[in-house]
């Protein structure tokens, strides 16, 4: 099973209802296909500041879309950096 988790209310900005999603998939599964399954409404407008953490590594969202294959049992964390303050 693979879990996708959104931090700090990002799911709402992306038009999703929950911050946690589970997928039973043949693994490893490309990150891109998880994103397609999630059917994220607002993705295009805020792709650039998004990051993905998986297996103790953080990648930009674009890099994860291109390269990341998620192994079984992993949690993929998606978050945004928007200034902090």
């Amino acid at each position: 099973m693979i879990t996708v988790k959104f931090l700090s209310g990002l799911e709402r900005r992306l038009g999703l209802s929950d911050n946690l999603y589970s997928f039973e998939e043949p693994v490893p599964v490309p990150f891109r296909s998880l994103v397609e399954k999630l059917n994220i409404r607002n993705l295009d407008s805020i792709t650039r500041p998004l990051f993905v953490n998986c297996e103790k590594e953080t990648l930009t969202f674009d890099k994860a879309l291109a390269d990341l294959n998620v192994p079984d049992g992993e949690t993929v964390v998606i978050f945004m950096i928007n200034g902090g303050g």
Binding site: S8, K63, T75, I81, N82
Partner: protein
């Protein structure tokens, strides 16, 4: 012509003679500089001789309320303090929210400048068109929270009013700590650059203000229309998490994504923190346990502040305030601590002492690394065994800074002073910019910050204009065809110059949508703002103060580590190096300055208008 936004007067208080004088503005200054840092720099230029020590009686400290303050312009509650910095020996400005700025205007004053030195501790009481100097012996030495409560209660009882607003210093400012932060309205701080040491050197503990006047607005219909627009944009933006949990909601992402410093800017956050550990450091997690109340600055629909009550964990300190993002990062990933109790307690200790939490966290990180490397020993730290991830040891060092006792006599002044006091030991681990510890946002992720951190007259600030606010789709292009041109940098900087002058909170800009500080200022003051001349004039006025002090290109220092030399391995900024000198050259060239000193040409200054005398004194002849 100015039609609103200003009360038309400022106060000059001479602590040596014990006199308060009211002056009328030269309206030209308001038109040229609008408010905040640039207006403050201009006033300091006029009022202070060059080359005086920052803490000398001749040095001037200024509070500047902003044109938006008190007008109900949303997000327009911030005011500015200006002085010479005891750290950089150049210009310093810092700003803060709360209610102090609006109240100063309600009392009839746009600004307050303090010079001289009082023989005994005093506080100032400012009421409608009046200023009094009062004895403050009973609160001198007390922590800021306590002192503020005493002064506020006694003034409110005496005047029979509520909501007296205050700004002042903690014990650190009294001692001249180079990290001393100006505090106001309990937990708001204009923290950076050692400003409060300048006020402390004058013997001023606090300024208490109560006013009843109305602030004129040039175009109230426009302002109301903008208010509606902001509120509609906020609804769209889904700001509930920020509203509930403040800037600290960003901490987990910034730690995992390498925006926050990890291990004194030397490492990758995700190598040390799991997502679960990072989440525990975000304010949404701590809010669930400790939040008792939300707090907002004047005219703010977001309200990113909060009060906490902490009754469990490593430091059950009771009532306190919620740390902002900067403090959380400075006292967590920066020193590899995972327990949120550490940043909450450090925040409380430092606010009470009146010390800048960003600089204090940077100093602790430097000390840990120097200690680990054997450059500092227990002899230097009064027996504290500093180590990465050891929150208790970090808190012990913070307590020393706050008391100024033992090794705290040295550490209370920040990294640069401490390193020099220890004979330069550990200098290779200093991650300061001209002696100022940077904000908790990484230039390797937001390259334009590198230019601002290193080359702004007020170094190490994350609010001073940047280009490239986020990583550029995995491709950094620093070529002339990329986004990091001098002209773009000047454009972004011009906007942040106006934001500061206006007293407009940058969170308003991030979440507030269609309107900007430009429209706010125009609606409130009736002035027409041309950013292309305002921005450079504002920046160069701040720069001019430092140039007159003799500060030039070679005096701006930075640790190559912060720019990715050597580059980090892994994480989103893997392999990134920022060509910060080149970015600085492009920026100053676009501004009309020379490459050797980063000083403005005479004709640059005269072309901007209103700076002829400045040009005469510090302008270079163009070759």
């Amino acid at each position: 012509m100015v039609k609103g936004g200003y009360m038309g007067k400022y106060l000059v208080v001479d602590m040596t003679t014990g006199t308060c004088e009211t002056h009328e503005w030269d309206e030209k200054y308001l038109e040229l500089f609008v408010g905040g840092p640039a207006l403050g720099a201009r006033m300091l230029w006029d009022m202070m001789p060059a080359h005086v020590d920052a803490l000398a009686p001749e040095s001037v400290f200024g509070f500047l309320a902003s044109p938006l303050n008190g007008t109900n312009a949303l997000f327009g509650g911030r005011y500015t303090v200006v002085s010479k910095s005891p750290v950089t020996n150049g210009f310093n400005d810092a700003n803060s929210g709360g209610y102090f700025g609006p109240e100063l205007k309600k009392a009839g004053f746009d600004a307050l400048f303090i010079k001289g030195k009082s023989e005994k501790p005093v506080y100032l009481l400012i009421t409608d068109d009046k200023c009094e100097i009062r004895d403050a012996s009973h609160v001198w030495g007390k922590d800021y929270y306590e002192a503020e409560a005493i002064v506020r209660d006694e003034v409110e009882a005496e005047l029979g009013v509520k909501n007296v607003r205050t700004a002042g210093i903690g014990p650190a400012g009294e001692r001249g700590s180079h990290m001393a932060a100006l505090m106001n309205d309990m937990h708001h701080t204009a923290g950076r650059g050692g400003s409060a040491a300048v006020l402390g050197a004058k013997g001023v503990k606090m300024v208490a203000v109560k006013g009843t006047k109305k602030i004129p607005v040039a175009d109230i219909d426009k302002l109301n229309e903008m208010k509606k627009g902001y509120l509609a944009a906020l609804k769209e933006a889904d700001i509930q998490v920020f509203k509930d949990s403040g800037s600290g909601e960003a901490a987990p992402g910034c730690i995992l994504g390498n925006d926050a410093s990890t291990r004194n800017w030397s490492a990758v956050g995700a190598d040390y923190y799991t997502p679960e550990e990072a989440e525990k450091l975000g304010s949404p997690w701590a809010d669930k346990k400790y939040k008792t109340k939300s707090k907002a600055c004047a005219a703010c629909p977001l309200g990113c502040g909060a009060l906490y009550k902490v009754e469990d964990g490593a430091y059950p300190i009771g009532d306190t305030t919620r740390p902002q993002y900067e403090t959380i990062a400075a006292f967590s990933s920066n020193i590899l601590v995972k327990d949120p109790a550490v940043n909450i307690y450090a925040n409380d200790l430092l606010n009470r002492a009146g010390i800048d939490t960003i600089s204090a966290g940077g100093t602790v990180a430097w000390a840990i690394e120097a200690f680990e490397n054997g450059d500092l020993t227990e002899e230097d730290t009064d027996g504290i065994k500093l180590a990465w991830g050891d929150g208790d040891a970090a808190i012990e060092l913070v307590k020393k800074m706050c008391s100024g006792e033992g090794c705290g006599e040295i550490f209370q002044h920040g990294t640069k002073y401490a390193c020099e006091a220890f004979g330069g030991r550990g200098a290779q681990f200093m991650t300061t910019f001209s002696g100022i510890e940077p904000g908790q946002h990484d230039p390797r992720l937001m390259p334009g910050l590198g230019r601002a951190y290193k080359w702004d007259p007020v170094p190490g600030r994350h609010v001073k204009g940047t280009t490239g606010y986020v990583i550029e789709d995995d491709k950094y292009n620093f070529g002339e065809d990329g986004p990091h041109t001098g002209a773009t940098d000047v454009e972004w900087t011009s906007y942040t110059e106006l934001e500061s002058a206006a007293g407009f909170c940058q969170f308003g800009g991030i979440y507030g949508g269609q309107f900007t500080a430009v429209e706010d200022v125009e609606a409130v003051t009736g002035l027409a703002v041309d950013l292309s001349t305002y921005g450079p004039r504002s920046f160069l006025m701040r720069l001019a103060f430092s140039v007159r002090e003799g500060i030039e290109r070679k005096d701006y220092t930075a640790n190559p580590r912060n720019m990715g030399e050597p580059p980090l391995k892994g994480g989103p900024t893997d392999g990134v190096t920022i060509p910060v000198d080149e970015l600085g050259e492009r920026f100053y060239e676009a501004l009309g300055c020379d490459k050797e000193h980063f000083w403005p040409y005479k004709d640059t200054l005269t072309a901007l208008g209103g700076l002829d005398d400045v040009a005469e004194e510090i302008g270079l002849d163009r070759p």
